[in-house]
Amino acid sequence: MEHKQTLQLPVSVVGITDVNRLDRELVAIDEFLRQGAIREPGTTMKLPKTSKLFDEIVSMNDLNLIQEDDRNRLRDFLRDTQDSAPRLHISFSTDPSPLFLQRLMNYLREKINPRVLVQVGLQPNIGAGCVVRSTNKVFDLSLREDFRKKRRVLMQYIQKLEVHDSKQEVKA
């Protein structure tokens, strides 16, 4: 249990899709090593390709995948993440860049939860900002909502402008 907690998700791993991919890659490597153990020496075997994301999680957690324990640790961690990691759905007005997502994930992993996963959505009509949806709640942090909240301020300005215009008309 203690080992599981020591493992960390890199900020490049954003959503559940990434975790699933890591799990598939780990399964492929595990299968490869298991098959290698039972095959006769001299037969050719094709090493499964791993993604940059997989390399990152391995290097970040200082794992040696040759060791079955490390592979088991990583597999348990990934399965546990798939099952129980907290998830957030965040919608933006445009598709976010990888750098933007990295910085955001950095903040979320640091301040909200170290295992939090994010599903990115797209809502072009929000203007700016984002809409965050957690398990039970929705946080509209968009510019549209900000305008709605500050509607009275806008109305006051409009009324002031109307009064100003009517005064100018009277003067004219």
Binding site: P86, F100, K111, G127, C130, N136, F139, R151, M155
Partner: protein
């Protein structure tokens, strides 16, 4: 001459006829009277009478009576003709007067009924005009009320959707210039403001 005059003329003619008949009977009755006891005198008188009133004299009397009767008949016929003409003219005049009076009465009734109908039509038109005017005023008020309501509704809707309107305008105006990377600090600040609630919700689970 009226109907009474005509009756008097007829009565006169009938009386003259009766007098002539009576005279004739009297003359014949005298012959029977000569059979009295004094027959000789009577016969003598009768002979004298026969001598005086002989056939020629009688014939002359008869002719005179006939002429007189024809004269009377002619005069009375003339009078009757005159009276008839007069009566006819009076009757015509009377009929004309009566018909004129009747026609005038009918015309006046007709005119009165036309006047009444006209008055009723005018009253009906006036009432209709009043109703139309009232309806027009009511519709005008309703229209003004509807316009006022619609205006209030539009203003209210505008106020309610002001955020969306401004947002839409901002997006249309500078939407392409808003970079998501520039918003990161703003987004992180907003999430930071709601951090506790988010953490609480994530820890509570579904």
């Amino acid at each position: 001459m009226d109907i009474f005059g005509l009756a008097a003329v007829l009565i006169g003619i009938v009386a003259a006829t009766m007098a002539f008949i009576w005279l004739a009977l009297r003359v014949s009755g005298g012959a029977h009277a000569s059979r009295n006891p004094n027959a000789s005198h009577l016969d003598q008188a009768e002979k004298d009478v026969e001598h005086i009133f002989n056939d020629e004299f009688r014939e002359e009397l008869r002719n005179r009576g006939r002429l007189h009767f024809e004269k009377i008949i002619g005069e009375n016929a003339m009078f009757l003709q005159q009276d008839l003409r007069l009566t006819t003219s009076q009757l015509n005049e009377f009929m004309k007067t009566e018909i004129t009076k009747k026609l005038q009465g009918e015309f006046s009734k007709y005119e009165e009924s036309i006047t009444d109908a006209k008055q009723m039509a005018i009253e009906s038109i006036t009432k209709t005009q009043e109703a139309i005017e009232e309806q027009r005023q009511m519709m005008g008020q309703q229209l003004l009320q509807e316009i006022e309501n619609e205006k209030s509704r539009m203003v209210k809707r505008f106020e309610e959707n002001l955020g969306d309107i401004v947002n839409h305008y901002v997006l249309a105006a500078i939407g392409n210039q808003i970079d998501l990377n520039d918003q990161l600090d703003y987004i992180i600040a907003d999430i930071e403001a709601n951090k506790e609630v988010i953490i609480q919700d994530l820890s509570d689970g579904a």
